[in-house]
Protein backbone atom coordinates (compact mmCIF):
# COMPACT_ATOMS: atom_id res chain seq x y z
CA UNK A 1 0.00 0.00 0.00
CA UNK A 2 1.61 3.20 -1.17
CA UNK A 3 0.74 6.70 -0.03
CA UNK A 4 0.05 9.20 -2.83
CA UNK A 5 0.03 13.01 -2.70
CA UNK A 6 -3.77 12.90 -2.85
CA UNK A 7 -3.78 10.56 0.13
CA UNK A 8 -1.76 13.08 2.08
CA UNK A 9 -4.05 15.92 1.04
CA UNK A 10 -7.10 13.86 1.99
CA UNK A 11 -5.73 12.86 5.35
CA UNK A 12 -4.58 16.41 6.09
CA UNK A 13 -8.12 17.56 5.37
CA UNK A 14 -9.60 14.93 7.67
CA UNK A 15 -7.23 16.03 10.43
CA UNK A 16 -7.64 19.75 9.74
CA UNK A 17 -3.86 20.28 9.75
CA UNK A 18 -3.70 22.69 6.81
CA UNK A 19 -0.66 21.66 4.77
CA UNK A 20 0.94 23.84 2.14
CA UNK A 21 1.49 22.20 -1.26
CA UNK A 22 5.25 22.58 -0.76
CA UNK A 23 5.25 20.15 2.13
CA UNK A 24 3.35 17.40 0.34
CA UNK A 25 6.23 15.67 -1.50
CA UNK A 26 8.45 15.27 1.55
CA UNK A 27 5.54 14.04 3.62
CA UNK A 28 4.66 11.49 0.94
CA UNK A 29 8.24 10.19 1.13
CA UNK A 30 8.35 10.16 4.88
CA UNK A 31 5.05 8.38 5.30
CA UNK A 32 5.91 5.79 2.66
CA UNK A 33 9.25 5.23 4.32
CA UNK A 34 7.66 4.68 7.68
CA UNK A 35 4.84 2.51 6.37
CA UNK A 36 7.31 0.32 4.45
CA UNK A 37 8.60 -0.87 7.81
CA UNK A 38 5.08 -1.86 8.80
CA UNK A 39 4.78 -4.36 5.95
CA UNK A 40 6.46 -7.00 8.09
CA UNK A 41 3.25 -7.14 10.12
CA UNK A 42 1.33 -8.48 7.11
CA UNK A 43 3.24 -11.76 7.44
CA UNK A 44 2.27 -12.39 11.02
CA UNK A 45 -0.28 -15.11 11.67
CA UNK A 46 -2.91 -13.42 13.80
CA UNK A 47 -5.58 -16.08 13.59
CA UNK A 48 -6.75 -17.09 16.98
CA UNK A 49 -5.33 -14.10 18.80
CA UNK A 50 -7.68 -13.54 21.70
CA UNK A 51 -9.29 -10.21 22.46
CA UNK A 52 -8.38 -7.96 25.34
CA UNK A 53 -8.03 -9.59 28.74
CA UNK A 54 -11.37 -10.87 29.96
CA UNK A 55 -10.91 -9.59 33.48
CA UNK A 56 -10.58 -5.94 32.48
CA UNK A 57 -13.92 -4.18 32.53
CA UNK A 58 -15.13 -0.60 32.65
CA UNK A 59 -15.53 0.70 36.20
CA UNK A 60 -18.93 2.32 36.81
CA UNK A 61 -19.31 5.66 38.56
CA UNK A 62 -22.13 6.48 40.98
CA UNK A 63 -24.55 8.96 39.34
CA UNK A 64 -24.51 11.07 42.52
CA UNK A 65 -20.77 11.78 42.60
CA UNK A 66 -19.73 15.32 41.65
CA UNK A 67 -17.36 16.24 38.84
CA UNK A 68 -13.83 17.60 39.31
CA UNK A 69 -14.25 21.35 39.74
CA UNK A 70 -12.61 23.97 37.57
CA UNK A 71 -10.18 25.90 39.78
CA UNK A 72 -10.18 28.82 37.42
CA UNK A 73 -13.00 30.51 35.49
CA UNK A 74 -13.56 29.63 31.83
CA UNK A 75 -12.85 33.20 30.85
CA UNK A 76 -9.24 32.76 31.97
CA UNK A 77 -8.49 30.04 29.41
CA UNK A 78 -11.09 30.53 26.68
CA UNK A 79 -9.68 32.21 23.56
CA UNK A 80 -12.99 34.05 23.03
CA UNK A 81 -16.06 34.13 25.22
CA UNK A 82 -19.09 36.28 25.91
CA UNK A 83 -22.08 35.93 28.23
CA UNK A 84 -20.74 32.55 29.28
CA UNK A 85 -20.60 31.17 25.72
CA UNK A 86 -17.46 30.14 23.85
CA UNK A 87 -17.34 32.17 20.64
CA UNK A 88 -16.12 30.89 17.29
CA UNK A 89 -16.20 32.35 13.79
CA UNK A 90 -19.19 31.22 11.77
CA UNK A 91 -18.86 28.10 9.68
CA UNK A 92 -18.90 29.45 6.12
CA UNK A 93 -21.51 27.00 4.87
CA UNK A 94 -23.65 27.21 7.94
CA UNK A 95 -27.41 27.49 7.62
CA UNK A 96 -29.87 28.82 10.17
CA UNK A 97 -31.61 25.51 10.76
CA UNK A 98 -30.87 23.29 13.68
CA UNK A 99 -30.01 24.28 17.22
CA UNK A 100 -26.98 22.04 17.13
CA UNK A 101 -25.45 21.74 13.74
CA UNK A 102 -23.40 18.80 14.93
CA UNK A 103 -26.61 16.95 14.24
CA UNK A 104 -25.82 17.63 10.60
CA UNK A 105 -22.69 15.55 10.88
Amino acid sequence: MSVTPNDVRHVARLARVGLTEARIPSLVNELNGILAHMDVLQQVDIRGVAEAAAEVSAPLRDDALPSDTLQRARETFAPASRDGFFLVPRLATHGALGASASEEA
Partner: protein
Protein backbone atom coordinates in the same frame (compact mmCIF):
# COMPACT_ATOMS: atom_id res chain seq x y z
CA UNK B 1 -49.15 14.92 -12.37
CA UNK B 2 -50.89 14.04 -9.16
CA UNK B 3 -49.03 12.66 -6.19
CA UNK B 4 -50.70 9.33 -6.77
CA UNK B 5 -49.48 9.15 -10.32
CA UNK B 6 -45.94 10.07 -9.42
CA UNK B 7 -45.67 7.60 -6.57
CA UNK B 8 -47.50 4.80 -8.32
CA UNK B 9 -45.49 1.59 -8.36
CA UNK B 10 -42.85 2.83 -5.93
CA UNK B 11 -42.43 1.28 -2.52
CA UNK B 12 -41.41 3.52 0.32
CA UNK B 13 -38.68 2.11 2.56
CA UNK B 14 -38.01 3.92 5.83
CA UNK B 15 -35.76 3.41 8.82
CA UNK B 16 -35.80 5.67 11.85
CA UNK B 17 -32.87 6.63 14.06
CA UNK B 18 -33.99 7.83 17.45
CA UNK B 19 -31.70 9.59 19.91
CA UNK B 20 -33.07 9.56 23.43
CA UNK B 21 -31.58 11.41 26.42
CA UNK B 22 -31.44 9.24 29.53
CA UNK B 23 -32.76 10.85 32.72
CA UNK B 24 -29.68 10.51 34.89
CA UNK B 25 -28.65 13.21 37.36
CA UNK B 26 -25.20 13.51 35.86
CA UNK B 27 -23.58 13.18 32.46
CA UNK B 28 -22.43 9.92 30.96
CA UNK B 29 -18.68 10.39 31.48
CA UNK B 30 -18.48 12.99 34.26
CA UNK B 31 -20.37 14.16 37.33
CA UNK B 32 -21.72 17.39 35.84
CA UNK B 33 -25.48 17.90 36.16
CA UNK B 34 -27.67 17.20 33.14
CA UNK B 35 -30.30 19.73 34.21
CA UNK B 36 -31.96 21.86 31.58
CA UNK B 37 -31.99 25.62 31.21
CA UNK B 38 -29.01 26.68 33.29
CA UNK B 39 -26.63 29.51 32.33
CA UNK B 40 -24.43 28.63 29.35
CA UNK B 41 -21.51 26.37 30.27
CA UNK B 42 -22.49 26.40 33.95
CA UNK B 43 -22.55 22.59 34.02
CA UNK B 44 -19.08 21.84 32.71
CA UNK B 45 -15.86 20.37 34.02
CA UNK B 46 -12.49 19.36 32.55
CA UNK B 47 -13.95 16.12 31.19
CA UNK B 48 -16.93 17.45 29.26
CA UNK B 49 -14.92 20.47 28.14
CA UNK B 50 -12.37 18.12 26.64
CA UNK B 51 -9.46 19.84 28.37
CA UNK B 52 -5.98 18.35 27.96
CA UNK B 53 -5.50 15.49 30.39
CA UNK B 54 -9.20 14.86 31.14
CA UNK B 55 -10.58 11.30 31.03
CA UNK B 56 -14.07 9.73 30.80
CA UNK B 57 -15.55 7.50 33.52
CA UNK B 58 -18.84 5.74 32.77
CA UNK B 59 -22.03 6.56 34.75
CA UNK B 60 -23.52 3.43 36.34
CA UNK B 61 -27.08 4.73 36.19
CA UNK B 62 -26.76 5.52 32.49
CA UNK B 63 -25.85 1.87 31.95
CA UNK B 64 -28.88 0.77 33.99
CA UNK B 65 -31.27 2.98 32.04
CA UNK B 66 -29.78 2.06 28.68
CA UNK B 67 -30.13 -1.61 29.57
CA UNK B 68 -33.75 -1.07 30.61
CA UNK B 69 -34.50 0.75 27.37
CA UNK B 70 -33.00 -2.14 25.42
CA UNK B 71 -35.05 -4.70 27.36
CA UNK B 72 -38.24 -2.68 26.92
CA UNK B 73 -37.64 -2.86 23.18
CA UNK B 74 -37.26 -6.61 23.32
CA UNK B 75 -33.55 -6.53 22.49
CA UNK B 76 -30.82 -8.96 23.40
CA UNK B 77 -28.46 -7.15 25.78
CA UNK B 78 -24.86 -8.19 25.16
CA UNK B 79 -22.56 -9.17 28.00
CA UNK B 80 -19.72 -7.25 26.38
CA UNK B 81 -19.98 -4.01 24.49
CA UNK B 82 -17.27 -1.56 23.50
CA UNK B 83 -17.09 2.21 23.40
CA UNK B 84 -15.59 3.64 20.23
CA UNK B 85 -14.48 7.06 19.13
CA UNK B 86 -16.31 8.69 16.25
CA UNK B 87 -13.83 11.30 14.99
CA UNK B 88 -14.92 14.55 13.36
CA UNK B 89 -14.50 18.29 13.89
CA UNK B 90 -17.27 20.57 15.11
CA UNK B 91 -17.16 23.37 17.68
CA UNK B 92 -19.80 21.79 19.91
CA UNK B 93 -17.86 18.49 19.96
CA UNK B 94 -15.17 19.32 22.55
CA UNK B 95 -12.78 16.43 22.12
CA UNK B 96 -12.96 16.36 18.33
CA UNK B 97 -14.54 12.95 18.71
CA UNK B 98 -17.77 11.60 20.15
CA UNK B 99 -17.59 8.58 22.42
CA UNK B 100 -20.16 6.18 21.02
CA UNK B 101 -20.41 2.47 20.26
CA UNK B 102 -19.70 1.05 16.83
CA UNK B 103 -19.35 -2.61 16.01
CA UNK B 104 -20.03 -3.91 19.53
CA UNK B 105 -23.21 -2.11 20.65
CA UNK B 106 -25.04 -2.61 23.92
CA UNK B 107 -28.01 -4.43 22.41
CA UNK B 108 -29.43 -5.75 19.17
CA UNK B 109 -32.47 -7.44 17.63
CA UNK B 110 -35.57 -5.99 19.21
CA UNK B 111 -38.99 -4.95 17.91
CA UNK B 112 -41.94 -2.72 18.62
CA UNK B 113 -45.58 -3.16 17.62
CA UNK B 114 -47.08 -0.13 15.93
CA UNK B 115 -50.57 -1.33 15.25
CA UNK B 116 -52.58 -4.17 13.85
CA UNK B 117 -52.56 -5.54 10.31
CA UNK B 118 -55.74 -6.15 8.32
CA UNK B 119 -55.63 -9.83 9.30
CA UNK B 120 -55.53 -8.98 12.99
CA UNK B 121 -51.87 -9.82 13.58
CA UNK B 122 -49.65 -7.12 15.08
CA UNK B 123 -47.70 -4.87 12.74
CA UNK B 124 -44.17 -5.09 14.07
CA UNK B 125 -41.17 -2.89 13.24
CA UNK B 126 -37.83 -4.46 14.12
CA UNK B 127 -35.17 -2.64 16.09
CA UNK B 128 -31.71 -3.27 14.68
CA UNK B 129 -29.64 -2.01 17.59
CA UNK B 130 -29.43 0.14 20.68
CA UNK B 131 -26.17 1.74 21.68
CA UNK B 132 -24.93 4.28 24.22
CA UNK B 133 -23.19 7.53 23.37
CA UNK B 134 -22.62 11.07 24.59
CA UNK B 135 -24.55 14.08 23.35
CA UNK B 136 -22.81 17.08 21.80
CA UNK B 137 -23.18 20.67 22.98
CA UNK B 138 -25.27 23.36 21.34
CA UNK B 139 -24.31 26.00 18.81
CA UNK B 140 -26.30 29.22 18.65
CA UNK B 141 -25.82 31.08 15.39
CA UNK B 142 -28.03 34.11 15.61
CA UNK B 143 -27.09 35.63 18.94
CA UNK B 144 -23.88 37.41 17.97
CA UNK B 145 -23.08 38.89 14.58
CA UNK B 146 -20.61 36.79 12.54
CA UNK B 147 -19.90 34.48 15.45
CA UNK B 148 -21.40 31.27 16.70
CA UNK B 149 -21.92 30.82 20.42
CA UNK B 150 -21.11 27.43 21.90
CA UNK B 151 -22.81 26.10 25.03
CA UNK B 152 -21.46 22.78 26.31
CA UNK B 153 -24.02 22.17 29.05
CA UNK B 154 -25.56 19.47 26.89
CA UNK B 155 -22.21 17.94 25.92
CA UNK B 156 -21.88 14.60 27.66
CA UNK B 157 -25.58 14.03 28.34
CA UNK B 158 -26.13 10.25 28.11
CA UNK B 159 -27.95 9.12 24.99
CA UNK B 160 -29.18 5.87 23.63
CA UNK B 161 -29.34 5.67 19.87
CA UNK B 162 -32.06 3.33 18.67
CA UNK B 163 -31.86 2.28 15.04
CA UNK B 164 -34.74 0.51 13.36
CA UNK B 165 -34.56 -1.89 10.48
CA UNK B 166 -35.89 -0.35 7.25
CA UNK B 167 -39.27 -2.00 7.86
CA UNK B 168 -41.45 1.10 7.77
CA UNK B 169 -43.57 1.52 4.65
CA UNK B 170 -45.56 4.72 5.00
CA UNK B 171 -45.51 8.18 6.51
CA UNK B 172 -48.29 7.23 8.89
CA UNK B 173 -46.35 4.20 9.98
CA UNK B 174 -43.27 6.34 10.58
CA UNK B 175 -45.33 8.61 12.81
CA UNK B 176 -46.82 5.62 14.59
CA UNK B 177 -43.39 4.08 15.20
CA UNK B 178 -42.10 7.34 16.62
CA UNK B 179 -45.12 7.71 18.88
CA UNK B 180 -44.88 4.13 20.11
CA UNK B 181 -41.16 4.52 20.69
CA UNK B 182 -41.72 7.63 22.77
CA UNK B 183 -44.45 5.89 24.72
CA UNK B 184 -42.26 2.87 25.40
CA UNK B 185 -39.29 4.95 26.56
CA UNK B 186 -41.50 7.06 28.79
CA UNK B 187 -43.18 4.04 30.34
CA UNK B 188 -39.79 2.42 30.91
CA UNK B 189 -38.98 5.58 32.91
CA UNK B 190 -35.61 5.99 31.22
CA UNK B 191 -36.24 9.38 29.62
CA UNK B 192 -38.66 12.30 29.38
CA UNK B 193 -38.75 11.38 25.69
CA UNK B 194 -40.06 14.78 24.66
CA UNK B 195 -39.50 15.82 21.04
CA UNK B 196 -40.31 19.46 21.68
CA UNK B 197 -37.76 19.68 24.50
CA UNK B 198 -35.12 17.72 22.64
CA UNK B 199 -34.92 14.68 24.91
CA UNK B 200 -36.17 12.66 21.94
CA UNK B 201 -34.77 13.33 18.48
CA UNK B 202 -35.76 11.51 15.35
CA UNK B 203 -33.94 11.25 12.04
CA UNK B 204 -35.50 9.51 9.07
CA UNK B 205 -33.65 7.43 6.46
CA UNK B 206 -35.75 7.10 3.34
CA UNK B 207 -35.36 5.38 0.00
CA UNK B 208 -37.66 3.94 -2.62
CA UNK B 209 -37.69 0.90 -4.86
CA UNK B 210 -40.02 -0.87 -7.25
CA UNK B 211 -42.50 -3.17 -5.51
CA UNK B 212 -41.03 -6.64 -5.45
CA UNK B 213 -37.40 -5.49 -5.56
CA UNK B 214 -35.24 -6.87 -2.79
CA UNK B 215 -32.39 -4.40 -3.12
CA UNK B 216 -32.58 -1.07 -1.33
CA UNK B 217 -32.40 2.21 -3.21
CA UNK B 218 -30.06 5.07 -2.31
CA UNK B 219 -31.28 6.69 0.85
CA UNK B 220 -31.40 10.26 2.03
CA UNK B 221 -31.46 11.29 5.64
CA UNK B 222 -33.85 13.90 6.99
CA UNK B 223 -33.00 15.77 10.18
CA UNK B 224 -34.43 18.65 12.18
CA UNK B 225 -37.81 17.00 12.76
CA UNK B 226 -39.37 18.49 15.86
CA UNK B 227 -42.75 16.73 16.09
CA UNK B 228 -44.47 13.53 15.09
CA UNK B 229 -46.52 15.29 12.44
CA UNK B 230 -43.35 16.86 11.06
CA UNK B 231 -42.01 13.34 10.56
CA UNK B 232 -45.08 12.37 8.58
CA UNK B 233 -45.08 15.53 6.48
CA UNK B 234 -41.39 15.31 5.70
CA UNK B 235 -41.68 11.69 4.63
CA UNK B 236 -44.51 12.50 2.25
CA UNK B 237 -42.54 15.33 0.67
CA UNK B 238 -39.34 13.33 0.22
CA UNK B 239 -41.20 10.27 -1.06
CA UNK B 240 -42.73 12.35 -3.83
CA UNK B 241 -39.39 13.97 -4.62
CA UNK B 242 -37.54 10.67 -4.93
CA UNK B 243 -40.30 9.18 -7.07
CA UNK B 244 -40.18 12.16 -9.39
CA UNK B 245 -36.39 11.96 -9.69
CA UNK B 246 -36.34 8.28 -10.53
CA UNK B 247 -39.38 8.40 -12.77
CA UNK B 248 -37.68 11.13 -14.80
CA UNK B 249 -34.64 8.91 -15.19
CA UNK B 250 -32.45 10.66 -12.66
CA UNK B 251 -30.51 9.30 -9.71
CA UNK B 252 -31.18 9.84 -6.03
CA UNK B 253 -28.07 11.35 -4.43
CA UNK B 254 -27.15 10.20 -0.96
CA UNK B 255 -27.38 13.32 1.15
CA UNK B 256 -28.59 14.79 4.40
CA UNK B 257 -31.72 16.91 4.21
CA UNK B 258 -33.23 19.28 6.73
CA UNK B 259 -36.96 19.78 7.30
CA UNK B 260 -38.14 23.37 7.42
CA UNK B 261 -41.27 23.39 9.54
CA UNK B 262 -42.33 26.94 8.68
CA UNK B 263 -42.20 26.38 4.96
CA UNK B 264 -43.02 22.66 5.05
CA UNK B 265 -40.02 21.95 2.85
CA UNK B 266 -37.28 19.35 2.79
CA UNK B 267 -33.97 20.82 1.64
CA UNK B 268 -30.42 19.52 1.31
CA UNK B 269 -28.20 20.48 4.26
CA UNK B 270 -25.51 22.80 2.99
CA UNK B 271 -22.74 21.82 5.35
CA UNK B 272 -21.78 18.62 3.61
CA UNK B 273 -18.15 18.70 2.51
CA UNK B 274 -17.68 15.31 0.97
CA UNK B 275 -18.40 12.09 2.84
CA UNK B 276 -17.42 11.62 6.44
CA UNK B 277 -14.76 9.13 7.40
CA UNK B 278 -15.26 8.80 11.14
CA UNK B 279 -12.26 6.49 11.61
CA UNK B 280 -13.99 4.55 14.38
CA UNK B 281 -11.69 2.70 16.79
CA UNK B 282 -12.22 1.35 20.32
CA UNK B 283 -11.75 4.11 22.89
CA UNK B 284 -8.56 3.22 24.79
CA UNK B 285 -9.69 5.27 27.80
CA UNK B 286 -12.64 2.95 28.48
CA UNK B 287 -12.28 -0.80 29.06
CA UNK B 288 -15.07 -2.97 27.60
CA UNK B 289 -18.44 -2.75 29.34
CA UNK B 290 -19.17 -6.15 30.82
CA UNK B 291 -22.64 -6.90 32.13
CA UNK B 292 -23.50 -10.00 34.13
CA UNK B 293 -26.68 -11.97 33.55
CA UNK B 294 -27.81 -11.04 37.05
CA UNK B 295 -27.33 -7.34 36.33
CA UNK B 296 -29.49 -7.62 33.22
CA UNK B 297 -32.09 -9.57 35.19
CA UNK B 298 -32.13 -6.84 37.83
CA UNK B 299 -32.82 -4.23 35.17
CA UNK B 300 -35.68 -6.32 33.82
CA UNK B 301 -37.10 -6.50 37.34
CA UNK B 302 -36.76 -2.75 37.74
CA UNK B 303 -38.76 -1.98 34.59
CA UNK B 304 -42.17 -0.48 35.29
CA UNK B 305 -45.18 -2.04 33.58
CA UNK B 306 -44.81 -1.39 29.86
CA UNK B 307 -47.62 -0.47 27.44
CA UNK B 308 -48.37 -3.97 26.05
CA UNK B 309 -48.72 -5.50 29.50
CA UNK B 310 -50.52 -2.49 30.84
CA UNK B 311 -52.96 -2.53 27.95
CA UNK B 312 -53.85 -6.18 28.53
CA UNK B 313 -54.22 -5.73 32.25
CA UNK B 314 -56.33 -2.60 32.00
CA UNK B 315 -58.67 -4.18 29.47
CA UNK B 316 -59.30 -7.08 31.81
CA UNK B 317 -59.27 -5.14 35.05
CA UNK B 318 -61.55 -2.31 34.07
CA UNK B 319 -63.68 -3.80 31.31
CA UNK B 320 -63.33 -0.65 29.24
CA UNK B 321 -63.54 -0.53 25.43
CA UNK B 322 -60.19 -0.89 23.61
CA UNK B 323 -60.36 2.59 22.22
CA UNK B 324 -60.73 4.11 25.70
CA UNK B 325 -57.81 2.11 27.04
CA UNK B 326 -55.67 3.15 24.07
CA UNK B 327 -56.37 6.79 24.74
CA UNK B 328 -55.70 6.44 28.45
CA UNK B 329 -52.35 4.82 27.69
CA UNK B 330 -51.20 7.79 25.61
CA UNK B 331 -48.84 8.86 28.38
CA UNK B 332 -47.80 7.09 31.52
CA UNK B 333 -48.90 10.07 33.56
CA UNK B 334 -52.41 9.86 32.14
CA UNK B 335 -52.61 6.12 32.64
CA UNK B 336 -51.33 6.40 36.21
CA UNK B 337 -53.79 9.18 36.95
CA UNK B 338 -56.67 7.23 35.49
CA UNK B 339 -55.91 4.21 37.63
CA UNK B 340 -55.61 6.38 40.72
CA UNK B 341 -58.96 8.00 40.02
CA UNK B 342 -60.57 4.67 39.19
CA UNK B 343 -59.30 3.19 42.40
CA UNK B 344 -60.24 6.13 44.60
CA UNK B 345 -63.68 6.55 43.06
CA UNK B 346 -64.50 2.89 42.61
CA UNK B 347 -65.97 3.49 39.13
CA UNK B 348 -63.58 2.92 36.23
CA UNK B 349 -66.10 3.70 33.50
CA UNK B 350 -66.97 7.06 34.95
CA UNK B 351 -63.31 7.77 35.65
CA UNK B 352 -62.46 7.08 32.01
CA UNK B 353 -65.26 9.27 30.73
CA UNK B 354 -64.39 12.17 32.98
CA UNK B 355 -60.69 11.99 32.16
CA UNK B 356 -60.94 11.50 28.42
CA UNK B 357 -63.67 14.12 28.12
CA UNK B 358 -63.85 17.12 30.41
CA UNK B 359 -60.45 16.76 32.09
CA UNK B 360 -58.32 16.45 28.96
CA UNK B 361 -60.29 19.24 27.33
CA UNK B 362 -59.61 21.41 30.35
CA UNK B 363 -55.94 20.48 30.43
CA UNK B 364 -55.52 21.34 26.74
CA UNK B 365 -57.37 24.61 27.09
CA UNK B 366 -55.49 25.72 30.19
CA UNK B 367 -52.06 24.81 28.88
CA UNK B 368 -51.24 23.37 32.27
CA UNK B 369 -49.49 20.06 32.74
CA UNK B 370 -51.73 17.26 33.88
CA UNK B 371 -49.90 17.11 37.20
CA UNK B 372 -50.48 20.82 37.79
CA UNK B 373 -54.17 20.82 36.93
CA UNK B 374 -56.47 21.94 39.79
CA UNK B 375 -58.84 18.99 39.36
CA UNK B 376 -56.66 16.60 41.31
CA UNK B 377 -56.99 12.83 41.61
CA UNK B 378 -58.62 13.15 45.02
CA UNK B 379 -61.11 15.81 44.02
CA UNK B 380 -62.13 14.12 40.79
CA UNK B 381 -62.56 10.84 42.61
CA UNK B 382 -64.72 12.57 45.21
CA UNK B 383 -66.86 14.11 42.48
CA UNK B 384 -67.33 10.72 40.89
CA UNK B 385 -68.29 9.19 44.21
CA UNK B 386 -70.96 11.88 44.62
CA UNK B 387 -72.26 10.99 41.18
CA UNK B 388 -72.29 7.27 41.90
CA UNK B 389 -74.08 7.83 45.20
CA UNK B 390 -76.69 9.87 43.44
CA UNK B 391 -75.85 12.95 45.46
CA UNK B 392 -75.56 15.00 42.27
CA UNK B 393 -77.21 14.56 38.91
CA UNK B 394 -75.19 14.35 35.70
CA UNK B 395 -75.90 17.97 34.91
CA UNK B 396 -74.98 19.10 38.38
CA UNK B 397 -71.78 17.09 38.17
CA UNK B 398 -70.73 19.01 35.04
CA UNK B 399 -71.35 22.27 36.86
CA UNK B 400 -69.39 20.99 39.83
CA UNK B 401 -66.45 20.07 37.63
CA UNK B 402 -66.29 23.62 36.33
CA UNK B 403 -66.29 24.84 39.93
CA UNK B 404 -63.39 22.50 40.73
CA UNK B 405 -61.41 24.04 37.89
CA UNK B 406 -61.84 27.48 39.37
CA UNK B 407 -61.97 27.03 43.13
CA UNK B 408 -60.31 25.18 45.95
CA UNK B 409 -62.38 23.11 48.34
CA UNK B 410 -63.87 19.69 48.61
CA UNK B 411 -66.49 18.78 45.99
CA UNK B 412 -69.11 17.94 48.62
CA UNK B 413 -68.79 21.36 50.25
CA UNK B 414 -68.78 23.18 46.95
CA UNK B 415 -71.84 21.26 45.79
CA UNK B 416 -73.70 21.90 48.98
CA UNK B 417 -72.86 25.60 48.95
CA UNK B 418 -74.01 25.91 45.35
CA UNK B 419 -77.18 23.98 45.96
CA UNK B 420 -76.14 21.23 43.58
CA UNK B 421 -76.78 18.34 45.91
CA UNK B 422 -79.68 16.28 44.80
CA UNK B 423 -82.58 16.29 47.16
CA UNK B 424 -83.64 12.77 47.94
CA UNK B 425 -85.37 13.35 51.18
CA UNK B 426 -88.82 11.84 50.78
CA UNK B 427 -90.47 14.61 52.69
CA UNK B 428 -89.17 17.34 50.41
CA UNK B 429 -89.89 15.34 47.28
CA UNK B 430 -93.41 14.44 48.32
CA UNK B 431 -93.98 18.09 49.05
CA UNK B 432 -92.97 19.10 45.54
CA UNK B 433 -94.94 16.26 43.95
CA UNK B 434 -98.04 17.33 45.85
CA UNK B 435 -97.58 20.89 44.67
CA UNK B 436 -97.18 19.86 41.03
CA UNK B 437 -100.20 17.59 41.13
CA UNK B 438 -102.20 20.36 42.72
CA UNK B 439 -101.10 22.87 40.15
CA UNK B 440 -101.87 20.57 37.22
CA UNK B 441 -105.14 18.87 38.12
CA UNK B 442 -106.05 17.71 34.64
CA UNK B 443 -102.74 15.93 34.03
CA UNK B 444 -102.72 14.67 37.58
CA UNK B 445 -106.10 13.07 37.17
CA UNK B 446 -105.20 11.42 33.87
CA UNK B 447 -101.89 10.15 35.28
CA UNK B 448 -103.40 8.78 38.40
CA UNK B 449 -106.11 7.27 36.21
CA UNK B 450 -103.47 5.16 34.40
CA UNK B 451 -101.86 7.26 31.65
CA UNK B 452 -98.27 6.29 32.45
CA UNK B 453 -96.80 8.37 29.66
CA UNK B 454 -97.60 11.52 31.55
CA UNK B 455 -95.05 10.53 34.23
CA UNK B 456 -92.19 12.10 32.31
CA UNK B 457 -93.95 15.45 32.05
CA UNK B 458 -94.78 15.43 35.72
CA UNK B 459 -91.19 14.51 36.65
CA UNK B 460 -90.02 17.39 34.50
CA UNK B 461 -92.32 19.79 36.35
CA UNK B 462 -91.04 18.54 39.71
CA UNK B 463 -87.45 19.03 38.51
CA UNK B 464 -88.30 22.56 37.47
CA UNK B 465 -89.95 23.33 40.79
CA UNK B 466 -86.88 21.98 42.63
CA UNK B 467 -84.57 24.01 40.40
CA UNK B 468 -82.98 20.78 39.26
CA UNK B 469 -81.99 19.56 42.66
CA UNK B 470 -84.57 16.80 42.98
CA UNK B 471 -83.27 13.32 42.40
CA UNK B 472 -85.16 12.34 39.27
CA UNK B 473 -84.90 8.62 40.01
CA UNK B 474 -86.58 9.01 43.33
CA UNK B 475 -89.20 11.35 41.91
CA UNK B 476 -90.02 8.73 39.31
CA UNK B 477 -90.28 6.07 42.00
CA UNK B 478 -92.57 8.15 44.17
CA UNK B 479 -94.80 9.19 41.27
CA UNK B 480 -95.02 5.63 40.03
CA UNK B 481 -95.99 4.49 43.49
CA UNK B 482 -98.71 7.17 43.56
CA UNK B 483 -100.17 5.84 40.35
CA UNK B 484 -100.46 2.52 42.02
Amino acid sequence: MTTETITHGWELVIGLEVHCQLKTRSKIFCGCATSFGDAPNANTCPVCLGLPGALPVLNAHAVELATRASLALGCTVHDTSIFARKNYFYPDLPKGYQISQFDRPLATAGAIAVGVQPDGTPRVIRVHRVHMEEDAGKSVHDRFADMSAIDLNRAGTPLVEIVSEPDIRSAAEAGAYARRMKQMLEYADVSDANMEEGSLRVDVNISIRRHGDAALGTKTEIKNLNSFSAIERAVEIEFVRQCRVLTEGGVVEQQTMLYDDKRNEVRPARSKEGSHDYRYFPDPDLPPLRLSASFVAQQAEALPELPPARRSRMLVQYGLPENDVEQLLATRELADRFEAVASASGDAKRAANWMLGPLLASVNASGLALSAHPVSVARLAALIRLEVAGEVSNTAARQLFTMLEQQDGEPLELARAAGLLQVRDDGALVGWIDEVLAENPAEAARFLGGEQKLQGVLVGLVMKKSKGSADPKKVNQLLAARAG
